[in-house]
């Protein structure tokens, strides 16, 4: 019963990931090609989803937009894990020490800022662009993973097999990497999926206000922003990228929920 979320979640995520991957090799049309005469075309056999206000093929735009969103979100979550997990593990290994305090209070500091505000601040200082958006979204992922891994690691440090490892002479670094990390991987994967969907939302939000991906690279957020004033005459131009964002985020959340249920050891006996 608990697994019912995984299937639709996986399907949706697979759909958008494969669209993004295919777009590296092939899109129905070149998204950089502007042809004003062909704008606002209704869906037909050539342009399956019609064309936008510049005459660009909507399907191609959505495919490349998926690539932008996913690439930004992957790297941002990667940054969060790369810095957050070691910080959290260190804090757990040195629990109670000044180092633990320093790491966790610094994380609290970052966490206290609303995520989007950090992103706006960074892009305002260093200029808008995909790279700065990635860094901005990545930074607010760090405390999420640091807190999660510290909390999870603390409970594992109390377990008997850690005592055994200690007795056999393993240091804190080896225990953290050989025993703690594998035991919290499940949690990290689930959290990663959730953060991934938040990353996609953040990228769309930043691009919507003009601070994310810059033209001519298509982005779902900017497609939404561009179609704002056309919503009364050409509502489909806002509908497609809007649906793409909703479905991707929905898919990732369903997948995350499903994975949590599947991977959580405490729920294992339910199956």
């Amino acid at each position: 019963m608990k697994l019912r979320n995984i299937l639709p979640g996986t399907l949706l995520v697979f759909l958008f990931f494969s669209a993004a991957l295919i777009s590296y090799l092939w899109t129905p049309f070149d998204v950089a090609l502007i042809d004003i005469k062909a704008r606002f075309k209704s869906p037909d056999t050539i342009n399956w989803l019609g064309t936008d206000h510049f005459g660009r093929d909507m399907l191609s735009m959505l495919m490349v937009g998926a690539r932008t969103s996913i690439a930004v979100a992957i790297v941002a979550v990667g940054i969060g894990m790369l810095f957050g997990v070691p910080l959290g593990l260190t804090a757990a290994a040195k629990r109670g020490s000044w180092l633990d305090e320093l790491i966790m209070r610094a994380n609290d500091l970052v966490f206290a800022f609303p995520a989007l505000l950090i992103a706006i601040m960074i892009t305002a200082v260093y200029g808008p662009g995909a790279v700065n958006a990635i860094i901005a979204i990545g930074i607010f992922n760090i405390p999420v993973f640091a807190r999660l891994s510290r909390g999870a690691a603390l409970s594992i440090w109390k377990r008997d097999f850690i005592q055994a490892a200690k007795v056999s002479g393993k240091g804190a670094v080896r225990i953290s990497s050989e025993h703690i990390l594998p035991n919290i991987t499940n949690l990290l994967i689930v959290q990663g999926t959730i953060q991934f969907s938040l990353g996609i939302l953040a990228e769309a939000g930043l691009s919507f206000v003009g601070l994310g991906t810059q033209p001519p690279i298509p982005s779902w957020g900017r497609m939404l922003a561009d179609s704002q004033t056309l919503i009364y005459t050409e509502p489909q131009l806002a509908l497609y990228p809007g649906l793409a964002i909703v479905l991707t985020v929905l898919g990732l959340n369903l997948l995350g929920d499903g994975l949590r249920d599947w991977l959580d050891p405490r729920l294992r006996h339910d199956r």
């Binding site: 950089a32 090609l33 502007i34 004003i36 005469k37 704008r39 206000h53 510049f54 005459g55 200029g127 808008p128 662009g129 003009g210 810059q214 033209p215 001519p216 704002q228 004033t229 056309l230 919503i231 009364y232 005459t233």
Partner: protein, 492 residues
């Protein structure tokens, strides 16, 4: 029973009909940008003039709706034989909004202040030719010029040349005191500015009692505001894509007019490789103007081939010099040693013509091998980086000042165009008073900058005004940066 009910019903009918007959006397006008202050003699922003010009402040002369120069605070004038002395007779009985009288001392103060060494006036060159301002008597003032100047009456009509009082100019940035038919009432920062009828106006009284300028920068919000009736008129409606829909709606009238806005692909003439005229010509031939006008402005706009308004009598159509020809463009790049193309920056301010036009131009330039990196900037950043800092390759902006071809004679201007011949020509033009010769010089000036491909000349911005169909008297065109409300009224 029936007879009893007639009385309240009759009263109701009476109230309703009388209400309908009394025409509205207040107006809410939508504007995209809020002015940074309200002193037209100290700030450059067009939004200042769009509120205060002709409404709060008046000059010796003033632009009419057709761009003509008309008497305003100067009732009449005489020009000496040699064209170097202008004697103005002032209107009598003119009072500032604080009750003090406007006399020739105020005129002297205003013009001396605007042209002074330390003046912050945005159009200081307008006053450069004034040698001295002489108070003859309270109602008469004379300007002594350094050289005969056919532009003087035109220059004095600018919003930057309005007459202010020495006692109140210090506070003009937040509460302007002028001589106009409206007086400043209230400013809610970030939202609106209210002006009210001046009951002591010296000229013909205005029909409106009150006017509110409401600042709405988002095109979507502008559409919602006009549809909901929160705003009665948008003299320059920001989203051309909605105009067809608004035109079809009987509640609104859409008025298409001309502006003084030459929309150009401004080019940094000092930055390599754009300092090479062949490269600039290559850019000009790579641009398809009709695609930009259609794609960015939904067809509203007139193609231009130089920095000059097509409705001006001295206009020459030079669009053929930069017709769309990608092959020629590639050949020119090869000639300049750039057959593999090059990369430059394109910094875009917020208006839709720039943002959308920029994407289209980027795509067109890519076709000939020029790679542009787009960055979208807010106005403050644009002014800082591009206009003041000259740190840009290309940018798109509309120059909305009237007859501003003279900016090409200033090598310090952000295009950094430096041509001694052009400067000499503009000097001759300023000194010339014979209309035919002036016309010829203007035509030559347009041709020189078109031949030098100083900038990419795109289109003349259309004035796409949307207003309630019962509102009459708004200017159909924008001969200067202004929303002159003196003739505006509601039809019954």
């Amino acid at each position: 029973m029936k007879s009893i009910n007639i009385i309240p019903a009759a009263i109701a009918v009476l109230l309703l009909t009388s209400g309908a007959h009394a025409a509205k006397t207040d107006l809410v006008l939508g504007m995209q940008l809020e002015p940074p202050n309200l002193d037209p003699t100290g700030g450059a922003a067009a939004a200042i003039d769009e509120i205060v010009y002709a409404n709060i402040f008046e000059g010796l002369t003033q632009f009419g709706a057709d761009g003509s120069v008309n008497p305003a605070l100067a009732e009449s004038w005489e020009i000496s034989e040699d064209g170097k002395r202008y004697t103005f007779t002032l209107q009598s009985g003119v009072k500032f909004h604080d009750g003090s009288a406007m006399d020739s001392e105020d005129v002297k103060f205003s013009l001396d202040r605007a042209g002074a060494e330390d003046s912050t006036n945005a159009q200081k060159q307008l006053f450069a030719n004034i040698e001295s301002v002489e108070v003859v008597d309270a109602q008469t003032v004379a300007l002594n010029l350094k050289a005969a100047d056919g532009n003087m009456l035109f220059n004095l009509a600018w919003g930057d040349a309005v007459i202010v009082a020495p006692e109140t100019i210090g506070t003009a940035v937040t509460s302007p005191v002028g001589t106009g038919p409206f007086k400043f009432s209230n400013w809610v920062q970030g939202d609106q500015i209210v002006i009210e009828k001046n009951p002591d106006y010296w000229g013909e009284p205005v029909k409106l009692e009150k006017a509110t300028f409401k600042f709405i920068s988002e095109p979507t919000a502008a559409f919602a505001a006009i549809m909901a009736g929160d705003v009665d008129a948008f003299p320059v409606y920001p989203a051309p894509e909605n105009l067809a829909q608004l035109e079809a709606d009987p509640r609104f009238s859409v008025v298409l007019g001309s502006t003084e806005g030459e929309t150009i692909l401004s080019t940094n003439n000092k930055q390599a490789p754009l300092d090479d005229v062949r490269v600039r010509q290559a850019i000009a031939h790579a641009i398809d103007r009709s695609a930009i006008i259609d794609g960015a402005m939904f067809g509203y706009g007139t193609p231009i081939g130089s920095h000059f308004a097509p409705h001006n009598p001295a206009y020459v159509d030079l669009t053929a010099k930069s017709e769309y020809d990608p092959q020629k463009s590639k050949a020119l790049l090869k000639e300049a040693g750039l057959e593999d193309g090059f990369t430059t920056t394109l910094k875009l301010p917020p208006p839709a013509y720039a943002r959308r036009g920029g994407e289209i131009i980027a795509s067109q330039l890519r076709e000939v091998g020029i790679n542009v990196e787009i960055s979208n900037l807010e106005w403050a950043q644009w002014l800082e980086q591009v206009f003041k800092g000259k740190d840009y390759g290309l940018t798109i902006v509309s120059h909305t000042e009237p007859m501003d071809i003279g900016i090409y004679a200033n090598p310090e201007y952000y295009f950094q165009y430096d041509n001694a011949d052009f400067r000499a020509l503009i000097e001759n033009f300023n000194a010339e008073s014979d209309p035919d010769k002036r016309m010829t010089l203007l035509k030559d000036a347009q041709t020189i900058i078109a031949d030098d491909y100083v900038n990419g000349y795109l289109f003349q911005l259309a004035k796409t005004g949307v207003a309630s169909s019962k509102l009459k008297g708004l200017w159909p065109n924008s001969p200067t940066q202004a929303n002159d409300l003196t003739g505006v009224y509601w039809e019954d």
